[in-house]
Symmetry: C2
Subunit: 330 residues, 2 copies
Amino acid sequence: MVTRKDVAERAGVSVAVVSYVMNNKSNVKEATRNKVLAVIEELDYRPNLIAKSMKTKKTQQLAVLVNNLGNPFEAGILISLEKSAMERGYFLFFQKFQQDQEESLKSLFAGRVDGIILLGQSLSITTVEYFHLQGIPIFSIMEPSFNEGREVPFLDIDWGSAMQQLFVHLKSCGYQSIAYLTANEQMNSHHYEVRNRALMQAAKEEDIRVDELIRVDVCNFETAYSHLLARWTAQPAFSYQALLCVNDLMAAGAVAACKKLGISVPEQLAVAGCEDILMSSQTFPAITTIHYPREAIGEATLERMHALIQGHTVTHVTLANNLVIRETTS
Amino acid sequence: MVTRKDVAERAGVSVAVVSYVMNNKSNVKEATRNKVLAVIEELDYRPNLIAKSMKTKKTQQLAVLVNNLGNPFEAGILISLEKSAMERGYFLFFQKFQQDQEESLKSLFAGRVDGIILLGQSLSITTVEYFHLQGIPIFSIMEPSFNEGREVPFLDIDWGSAMQQLFVHLKSCGYQSIAYLTANEQMNSHHYEVRNRALMQAAKEEDIRVDELIRVDVCNFETAYSHLLARWTAQPAFSYQALLCVNDLMAAGAVAACKKLGISVPEQLAVAGCEDILMSSQTFPAITTIHYPREAIGEATLERMHALIQGHTVTHVTLANNLVIRETTS
């Protein structure tokens, strides 16, 4: 079995330096760090796995790193995760974190969790590498827009196909141009970038014009509502016939803004969202959206996480999606 | 400073027995346990505080025990908590648990958190006592319906006054009798019992008849919708003029059920909820409800929790509430 000493010898550094690299200390030159990481990779040195093979000690705890607690979409996924975790004897805890707190996750999780589930979250390459070395697998719900270095396995719907279905529907209603309301490019909404790319591609393929790309900092109801209210008050005439939103909360905010300004939906403006949260079926008019099968996520995720903890590799999972046509498009 | 030995001598037991009691082992007779606990209380022996006073070692971590992740009401509170925690330098993690997992919380939290926040949750008397002995304070968001033994400080609105405002409004609309849709009596919805008692008292004071008390197992949209649909299909004639729901999710389910059955709201049936979640302003018709000031909860809770961690005592907090009159009552 590979030891820390083997790594040190092969990399031509001291055992202490290997430890520094593994504990992510800053007192190691970049070149040295890279060399040590390359050797660790080459020899597949995983210290915690060795300790585990001796003790087979598991915590039966999983951490879920959540992104946006205010979105009922995530809450629905947490419920599904929790149900499946309980059935498999795992204990879940949830955590939201800011990028600048990423370091503290290491001391918080090391030795305390068997695995980490990302929910619309992302970790830096070095953090992913750190947990790999600790023998703590990571699985992501929704494809990270950025998944370089050691790739994190994920599950997601096929956003390309989902967006195409939506555009085919819009075309059948006679719409030729849209506006798209989404998140500013930033780490904590990175998973929306996957939807953005899929939308742009589908628009091109289906020959629908994206007249305006509207980006906001926070993807919730209130921000969409106030932003659109201000925008449409300033410029009452818009050229697009439909507004697509990166999530349903924002689509609901758009419907509320239309109601406030007397813009009739869908006659003057069609609206559609993504995710299919409960509220989108209860607004007036009810919102057309891409259904994301939340109830299937718990079991699919726990099955993969369990396999990863057992030392198996897992592949990405594509969930079935479907278009839910309601009253905001016709 | 009081030591474990002092406790043992005063209680007339060995130091080991004091340890057993403090670690909640089952090998101690009930009478002995009670005697030791009484002495611990009398001498105010708090071992972890002693260790802390020597090391002043804090984790800066707080655990939040949540109840119903599917209710956006709780999600809104979590966001508020998280914002205030960050401002004060605390790191939060959230956990849902079943009553039968309560034991595992002890090993999970001991030494890892500075305090525990309950969010619509409850802990048994012995668990509350255990964390007290560990020097880990507990604060509850929403009054626990059951708060015996070592009382847990809490914040909540004055449900008595809130329900009375609602009934005064209903009377002014001419309604004289209601049905009330709430949770079955069970541990994991215990915080609704506080609302139930307040409603019954207010109905009596305002002389409004509670024609039917409808209890369901799960307090969400889907359960309210399907239960009412079945109920009203079987018995299309009901005597009450208004339906009150213990939370807005259920009120939204009720509005959807009315829509499905062609019962016009509020002409044939008025509907009202509690909490004022976002969705209740977006349904058609929009729902009258009791506003719960979620945005104020984070700071109020963190301020008290910080004081508790510093060894201060805190009193219960009453938040301001107000009635939001919308379209489902008139």
